[in-house]
Symmetry: C2
C-alpha cells in the first residue's frame, strides 16, 4: 500500500446529500490518476439530519452547530488531516467549528475567490446563494474588498432562488435549472460579469458552461486534492 504518499482527507457532507455526491465526483475528476491507487483517500460523514442552515440563521430552526461538531469529531477520530464542507451556508459556523478542532477546516469562500482571481481577475460578481449566505454577507465580507457584488433582490431570492435550491434537494433538477437561469439573466442585466454558484445545489442544476461562472464546489474539490497530494492540478 502506497497510502503514505497521500494525506487522508475528511468531508463533512449531507448538506445536501446530492451536493456531497457532486463534490466527491469533482474530487475524483480533479485528480490526475491512471488507476485506483492514484486517487486520494477520504472519509465522508454524510448525515443529512443536520438542521437546516438557512432556517437556523433566520432563527426559525435549531442551530446545526452541535450536529456539525459531531461530524467533525467523527472525522477527527478517523484520522483525517483536513476537512472540506461542501455547503456554503454551513460556513457561517466555520470559525466556531475551527475553534473546536486542531484539524484544518478548508474554507469554501476563500477557495472560490482565489479561483475567481486566477481565472477572471477582479470581475463584478453576481451571487446565486441561499438567503442566509447572502444576507449574512458571507461572500461579500471576504476578498478584501476586491470585488463588487450584484445580488438577487429580496423577491428573486425568496420567490425563485430558495425554491430552486429546495427543488434540487427534492431531486427536481429541471425545475431548478429553469428558475436559476432566469435569475442569472437578471443578474447579468444588472451588471454582473461572472456568476458565483454560491450554494452547492446551484451547480447541480446549472452547468458551468451555461454562463461565465465559478463553481465553489469545484474550487473546494481542487483544494482538497491539493491538500492530500501536495500537487496542484491546473484545470
Amino acid at each position: 500500500m502506497n497510502v503514505s504518499s497521500f494525506r487522508l482527507m475528511g468531508v463533512l457532507g449531507g448538506m445536501g446529500p446530492l451536493a456531497t455526491v457532486d463534490f466527491l465526483r469533482k474530487v475524483v475528476d480533479a485528480t490526475s490518476a491512471a488507476s485506483d491507487q492514484d486517487h486520494i483517500p477520504f472519509i465522508v460523514y454524510s448525515v443529512p439530519q443536520i438542521p437546516d442552515r438557512t432556517a437556523a440563521f433566520f432563527g426559525w430552526g435549531p442551530s446545526p452547530f452541535s450536529a456539525m461538531l459531531k461530524g467533525v469529531r467523527t472525522l477527527e477520530t478517523a484520522g483525517v488531516e483536513s476537512i472540506a464542507i461542501p455547503c456554503n451556508t454551513a460556513h457561517l459556523w466555520h470559525s466556531q467549528l475551527q475553534a473546536q478542532t486542531p484539524v484544518e477546516i478548508l474554507h469554501i469562500v476563500k477557495a472560490t475567490l482565489e479561483q475567481v482571481e486566477l481565472q477572471y481577475g477582479q470581475p463584478r460578481l453576481g451571487l446565486l446563494a441561499t438567503a442566509a449566505t447572502i444576507e449574512s454577507g458571507l461572500y461579500q465580507s471576504h476578498g478584501q474588498g476586491k470585488f463588487d457584488w450584484v445580488l438577487p433582490t429580496e423577491q428573486e431570492l425568496h420567490e425563485h432562488v430558495m425554491p430552486a435550491i429546495q427543488a434540487v434537494k427534492a431531486g427536481d433538477l429541471s425545475l431548478a435549472s429553469d428558475t436559476l437561469k432566469r435569475v442569472a439573466h437578471h443578474l447579468f442585466s444588472r451588471g454582473a460579469e461572472v456568476l458565483v454558484y454560491g450554494c452547492t445545489e446551484v451547480p447541480i442544476a446549472l452547468q458551468a458552461e451555461s454562463f461565465p461562472s465559478i463553481d465553489p464546489t469545484l474550487a473546494l474539490a481542487k483544494q482538497l486534492v491539493f491538500r492530500s497530494t501536495g500537487c496542484e492540478l491546473v484545470v
Copy 2:
C-alpha cells in the same frame, strides 16, 4: 434532529473511487425525499490504496484483506449498523471480513440475484465482470443453481473487458463504453437474455438502458436505503 428514525449506514469504498461516487448517487436517487432531512445518514471510507483485488486473486499482488478490515474497523468505530462494499470482486473476501465484525456486511451478489428474479424471473444471464469475479465463480456459486450463465471467453475477458474496466478507473469512459458494448453483443449472440453489469466500473460506462440488464451497484444501493429506513422503494 430526526436521526433516530434512520439507522446510520457505512460504505467501504474506493474500489474504485468513481464507482463509489456512482454508488452514492444511486443511494440518493433510490431515496424518496423532499428535503435533506429525508435522506439516509451514512459514513464512507474511501481509500483507493486498498490493493487491487483481481491481482490479489491471481497471486500477482498483495491481499487487500487487511486494508479492507481497517476500513471496516473505522466504520464500526464510527457507529454504522450495516456496511455496503460497492466493488464486486472485493466480495471474494466477504465472509472473511464478516467473520471479523458484528456489523452486517451486505452482499452485492445476493442483492443482485434477488433483483434479477424480481425483475426478470430466471433468465439466462450474461456476466460482464473482472477476471477474478468470473474465474472464482463468485456469481455462479450463488443463486442456488437457478441461473444459467454465459461468460466472456478468455480472450474477451483479458483483451477487452479488463482493459475497459481499467479505462474507467483512469477516467476514459468512451473507450470503455465502446469496448463493453462489443462484448455485450457477443454474450447476447451466445444466448444471454439479461446482462449482469458485475463490476462496479461497468455501469459507469454502460447505461442501464443500453441492454436488458441488472446493475448490481443499484441493487446494493436499494438494499442500503432499505436497511436504513426500513422502507422498500419499488423502482
